[in-house]
Symmetry: C2
Subunit: 201 residues, 2 copies
């Protein structure tokens, strides 16, 4: 039962450093902007060396993007859990909603990070790059779900459309002042896309 109640202390310490680094970075970056904060600033605030920072994060962008890191695997898992006979549009709507909800549910902090990403070209680029991987994962899962061959374009297109919906909802939601209901936005987006998503060849 005790699958992993005790991550060996060493791992817990490691997690502690990572958390502190993330906290210090997001705080500084959200307040001063991405370019106005150097890695030295971050490690100064966190109390570690620059070298240690790059042992935990591959790049300065990575601190921010990794904060949204589990969302990719989360979405694939969410899609895998939907009943097999469910129409793609419904399954994907729940998939996207799981991610949107993870963003919208975590309070002010996540909103600030989203705004930071969408407003910083370098961060947006990394975010989209990561999304391209999510797209491949979702497409793979869709192919498996529907028992399709590798020939058709449908899985890639459907996964891409779902992520476009995700981006659009995120953009609208983060642009407003909490006046936009993310659930309603997600439903609206999938109402538009559903005719294509359910037109499985």
């Amino acid at each position: 039962m005790t699958a992993r109640p005790e991550p060996t202390l060493a791992q817990r310490k490691r997690q502690l450093v990572a958390d502190e680094l993330t906290r210090a970075a997001l705080d500084l970056l959200a307040r001063k902007g991405f370019d106005a904060v150097t890695v030295d600033d971050i490690v100064g605030a966190a109390g570690v060396s620059k070298r240690t920072f790059f042992r935990y994060f591959a790049s300065k962008e990575d601190v921010v993007v990794q904060f949204l890191g589990e969302m990719g695997t989360g979405m694939r898992a969410a899609l895998a859990e939907r009943p097999a006979q469910e129409p793609p549009s419904v399954a994907l709507r729940h998939t996207v909603w799981s991610a949107v909800d993870a963003c919208a549910g975590h309070g002010e902090q996540t909103l600030r990070v989203i705004r930071l990403i969408l407003g910083t070209p370098a961060l947006l680029a990394r975010f989209l790059e990561r999304q391209a991987q999510w797209r491949d994962a979702l497409a793979e899962e869709l192919t498996r779900r529907l028992g399709l061959g590798p020939a058709g374009l449908y899985p890639q297109l459907a996964a891409g459309a779902a992520l476009t919906a995700f981006d659009t909802v995120l953009q609208r939601w983060s642009a407003g002042e909490g006046d936009q209901d993310p659930a309603a936005l997600t439903d609206e987006a999938f109402a538009v896309l559903a005719p294509a998503l359910d037109s499985v060849v």
Copy 2:
């Protein structure tokens, strides 16, 4: 009539330098890979100083991505030229096709650049970032075309879906050995997406 037959020599010289820089960069990058080539290598091959390089391109990625630079404005122009009563799916199919054709028609060089971009994370990131701008432009044009208000999500979703189609076609086409017909791929992609694109609210 002579709108601009003589770009003042100075501008012609400037263009010459830019072309030589682009040529040297693409040649080296395509052969050795993005990370294995430094800016000093490029400027050495082109016979200019490093400082001059950054007067022409904002970053190392920019040399590659700017090579596909006109495609963004080209797509918007292509969309604007389509007849107003044409269904969105048809207009957007022609829009995407104009870009795909620009890639597929320019011979081996463009194919190598596409493969370089899709195979290099840093370049893919910049490419997707630029596409996000194209998406906004296309969405704006769609809003104008259809006389929609700023409330709905349709324009962003439709533009995003079209660009997903573009990416998917590009990916398939560049992965094959010329055995894939880009026109057929484009048609197939839009056959899937059309039901959503034409479901204007």
